[in-house]
C-alpha cells in the first residue's frame, strides 16, 4: 500500500468517530429544518439568477457548502492534534516524507468534504428537489466546489495549526474564523437585500463562492459571475494550499 494511502487511512481513522459523524449530520439538519422553516415566515422566496427559490431549498443547498467548510475545518486540525500529541514528529521519523504527510492531509480533507457534501445533498434533497435542474454541469460544478472548497478551508485550518501553539489561542481563532465564514456568507441568506457593507463583506468570504457554485450546479444556473467565482475559489485554494505547504515544510522539529 502506498505511503499516502496508509496515512489517509490513519487520518480517517483518527478523525471519524461517532461524535464527529453525528455532529456532521445533526448540526446542518438543525439549520435546514429549524432555521429553514422558521425563517420561511420572514423570507418567503430568494431570487437566484433567473430563478426564484423557496427559502428551505436555498438554505439546504447553502448547508452543503457550510458542511464542507465545517468538516474540513475540523479535519484540518489533524495537523494541530498531531503537533500537540507528538505524532507529527513520530510520523516524520517513520517511512514518510513531509510532502507525503501534507498530501495525505489534503486527500483526507477532500474525502471528508466530498462525503459531507453527498450526505447533506441526500438529506436536503426533499427540500430542493422540486427546483432542481440537473444538467451536464451539475456534477462537475458540485464536485469542483467540494474539492476546491475542501482544500481551501483545510489549508486555512492547516495554516492556523502551524502558527498557533496554545490550545486556547487555537480554539479562539478557529471559532472566530468559523463564525465569520458561516454567517458573513450567502450560505444562510442572499446577498441581495442585505446592507451594502454586509453584502460586500459576503464576497470577502470564500464560503460565499463555494455555496454559489454548489447552487449553480444544483439549480442549473451558470453564467459569467459563477465562472468568475469558480476562478476565485480555485485560485484561492491553490494559493492557500501553497502557503500551508510552505509553512508545514518549514515547521521546526
Amino acid at each position: 500500500m502506498h505511503e499516502i494511502i496508509r496515512l489517509v487511512n490513519r487520518n480517517l481513522t483518527i478523525s471519524l468517530n461517532m461524535g464527529f459523524v453525528i455532529w456532521q449530520i445533526i448540526f446542518p439538519l438543525i439549520y435546514i429544518f429549524v432555521a429553514g422553516f422558521a425563517y420561511t415566515a420572514l423570507i418567503h422566496q430568494v431570487p437566484f439568477g433567473s430563478k426564484t427559490l423557496d427559502y428551505p431549498a436555498f438554505i439546504a443547498t447553502g448547508m452543503i457548502g457550510f458542511n464542507i467548510m465545517n468538516s474540513t475545518l475540523i479535519s484540518g486540525i489533524i495537523i494541530w492534534n498531531d503537533r500537540r500529541h507528538g505524532m507529527f514528529e513520530q510520523i516524520l521519523v517513520g517511512p514518510f516524507t513531509r510532502a507525503q504527510y501534507i498530501l495525505s492531509n489534503v486527500y483526507t480533507i477532500g474525502i471528508i468534504g466530498l462525503v459531507s457534501a453527498a450526505m447533506i445533498t441526500a438529506i436536503g434533497y426533499p427540500l430542493f428537489f422540486k427546483q432542481v435542474e440537473f444538467n451536464v454541469l451539475t456534477i462537475p460544478l458540485v464536485v469542483f466546489a467540494s474539492i476546491t472548497g475542501s482544500i481551501l478551508f483545510g489549508s486555512i485550518a492547516s495554516i492556523i495549526s502551524t502558527r498557533l501553539k496554545s490550545s486556547e489561542g487555537f480554539n479562539v481563532v478557529i471559532n472566530t474564523v468559523f463564525l465569520f465564514f458561516a454567517f458573513v456568507s450567502t450560505a444562510f441568506y442572499p446577498a441581495q437585500g442585505a446592507p451594502l457593507i454586509l453584502s460586500t463583506a459576503f464576497y470577502f468570504n470564500p464560503l460565499t463562492y463555494l455555496v454559489d457554485v454548489v447552487r449553480a450546479g444544483i439549480f442549473g444556473y451558470f453564467n459569467g459571475l459563477v465562472a468568475t467565482e469558480m476562478v476565485i475559489l480555485g485560485v484561492g485554494a491553490v494559493v492557500l494550499f501553497l502557503i500551508a505547504t510552505k509553512l508545514l515544510s518549514k515547521l521546526e522539529l
Binding site: R10, T13, H85, G86, M87, E89, G94, P95
Partner: protein, 309 residues
Amino acid sequence: MFTIEVKSLSKSYGSFIAVDGIDLKVEKGKIFGFLGPNGAGKTTTMKMLTTLIPPSSGTMNILGIDGTRSPLEIRKKIGVVLQQPSYEPTLSVEKSLEKYGMMWNVDKKIRKSRVEELLIAFDLIDIRKKKNDDLSIGQRRRVQVAREFMHDMELLFLDEPTVGLDPSARRGLLDFIKSKVKDGLTIFFTTHILEEAEYLCDDIAIINKGKIIAVDTPDELKNKFGREKTIKIHISEQKNISALLSGISGCTIERDSGVLITVRSIQSEQVLQDVLKILSSNDITVEDLSVVPTSLEEIFLSVVKNSNA
C-alpha cells in the same frame, strides 16, 4: 561495518553549538548508551541520527546509508521512540498498535498476532480497549514503546524510554529490549537513569556541552575513572574518629557523623588495614563495615564535573 558511524557531526542554531563535532561508532547487535546532563546535546544528536533534522556539518552513515543523502531510506529501516509522548488520543490501545503497524505496511495477519504479543509483553491486556487519552502517563509510555515493535527494524533509537514507568514496568521493558538484541537488533539508548545504562548497555558515551567526553564499556569506564573506592565504617558509640584517621595517607575523609564515617581512596585495601588497626588500638568497636566500588553514577558525575571545569 558499523551500524552507526558518525564523523565530526555538528549542529548549530545561530551562534549556539548544540552538538560540536562528535565521532561515534556503534556495532551491530549492541546496545549503545548515550548519557549526558540536560541540554548536553543528546536529543539533538538523536534527532540528527534519526534524520529528523539535518546536521550543520559532518558525516553520518546509518546502516550503510549516507544519512544526509538518503534520509528516507534510513527511516524505513529504523524505529524511534521519541522522548516526548506521542499518541492518538481517540484510539484505543489495541487500535493504536494495529494502526501503527498498518502505517508501517505490516501485513494484516502479522499485525494481528503482534498486537496480541505486545499487549502481553507490555502488560497492556487489561487496558487494551481504553483510549489513549484516558491512560496514565506510564501506561501511555508503555503503549508508545510497544507500538514501535509492531514493525521490523534493524536499529532502534530509544530516547529515555522508561520515563514515567514504575520499577516493575521499567525492568520488564529493559528485559524485553535485551531479548530483542539477542535477535540481532541494534539499540541506541539515551537515559538519565545510570543503573539502566549499566544494566543494559554494551558501550556508553558521555556527552557534555555538545562534545563526547568519554566512550567505553561500562566496566572500562569504571576502570578508567572509578578506581577510587568508598569505605563506610559504622561504629558502636559516638567518637571523633576523624582526628584518629587523619594520619592515614592516600585517603580522603568524606563524611563523619560521629558513628558513621566515609573514607575514599584509590588504595582502599591498604587504607582499610590502617583504619582497622587504629580503631582496634583505640578500643573502638566496629558495628558494620563495607567497601563500595564507584558506581557509574559517580563516574558520570565526576567526568561531567571535570569536563565542565
